[in-house]
Amino acid sequence: MAKVKVPRKSTSVDMTAMTDVAFLLLTFFMLATQFKPDEPVQVITPASVAEIPLPDVDVMLITISNDNKVFFDLQGEHYKKTLLEKMGVKYSIVFTEDEKTKFSQMSSFGMPIAQLKQYINLSPEKRGSFPSAGIPCDSLQNELGDWVWQSRLTNNSFRVAIKGDRDVSYPTIKQVINTLQDKDVNRFNFITSMESAQ
């Protein structure tokens, strides 16, 4: 009985198709990715069933850390430049053009405006270890109110989003909300994380 000869086939596979798919996916993820802005504090937002997405543009972000410190951020580099200029005029602090540019590229900050100049001039790596004291928002010295008000003067279509840690105590929230109401912001959003409805 003659042996049936099985022809040897090459083991190398054409990888072109796989490469195509891989690079297609790579392109998709590269375009879809949005790097998380480095935040000065870690905030664990409370869970909720709310489903309203956060708008992409014109957001004024007030972050409250779990030790009740208030941080502020504004979207849009040119708005931030104008904002810093206006705040400088109000508190009679002169900011140079270079400082304004640096400020516009920063993420959330949380310190009294007197310390802001020092913070801006730190290198981005050193900013993390800066002892942020939070923006004062009590009735004696309400700088948060000024930040909010001057931002609204810069662009009135800002939405205010409050990103609070789940352990922020109620008096702090109340203070922030009162500040916003003083500045005629009566509609705002709480940033929450997703939770499936039970």
Partner: protein, 218 residues
């Protein structure tokens, strides 16, 4: 696996040195490796889901002549306090005193059944909201219609009005939780109001009495 042969142009043994035909096949393996490495990196760093938000409307401040009077019988006051506990009470229509304050929590069996029951008592057809939502899901109703119908039911004048007050021990998550319950229970009218001294006393006294009875769970 490399398929590019380093052909040195053949041997120079007489005759024409005809160039050896090089294979045009290139080994793709390193490129694919790199591609998948980058895919993995971007997949891990990307955050596709946008943060969700919860909208809150507060009344315009300092307009004492603008106060809306509401029926006492349709309001329930919810007090938020520490330890994730909530206390709720209805007020006596005549004396306005709190009637039998109850202490509960945010679990599914906590405050939600009470809110659902009391709201249904006042708006009997509140359950139609779910029907509208289901109709929209099977696309037998347009989104505009669904929203209009839901808004109409939520704005019912007879509906339950919830007054939310938090004391200094409450946490931000408690506020979000109770606003969540408002969403779940389809309560359209609620307000966050500053707490008053008698209510702080009420919380204190009932916490003390609960402790004495040894029924504090958390």
């Amino acid at each position: 696996m490399s398929e590019i042969e380093g052909g040195g142009g053949g041997k120079k043994k007489g005759g024409k040195p005809h160039g050896k035909k090089l294979s045009t096949r290139v080994d793709f393996t390193p490129m694919v490796d790199l591609g998948f490495l980058l895919i993995t990196f971007f997949m891990l760093t990307t955050s596709l889901n946008k943060p969700k938000t919860m909208e809150l409307n507060m009344p315009v401040k300092e307009k004492p002549d603008d106060i809306t009077a509401v029926k006492v019988s349709q309001t329930v006051t919810i007090l938020l306090t520490g330890n994730n506990q909530v206390m709720y009470y209805f007020s006596d229509p005549v004396t306005l005193d709190p009637m039998t304050p109850q202490i509960t929590d945010f679990s599914a069996g906590g405050i939600r059944p009470m809110l659902l029951r009391e709201n249904k008592k006042r708006v009997p057809n509140i359950d139609s909201i779910q029907v509208y939502k289901d109709l929209y899901k099977v696309s037998r109703m347009t989104e505009v219609d669904m929203k209009a119908n839901i808004a109409r039911l939520k704005a019912d004048v007879e509906g339950l009005i919830v007054i939310i007050k938090a004391d200094d021990n409450a946490k931000f998550s408690n506020i979000v939780d109770i606003l969540d319950e408002m969403l779940i229970c389809n309560i359209g009218r609620y307000a966050i109001v500053d707490i008053s001294d008698p209510e702080i006393e009420l919380i204190k006294s009932s916490a003390a009495s609960l402790k004495a009875a040894g029924t504090v769970n958390n």
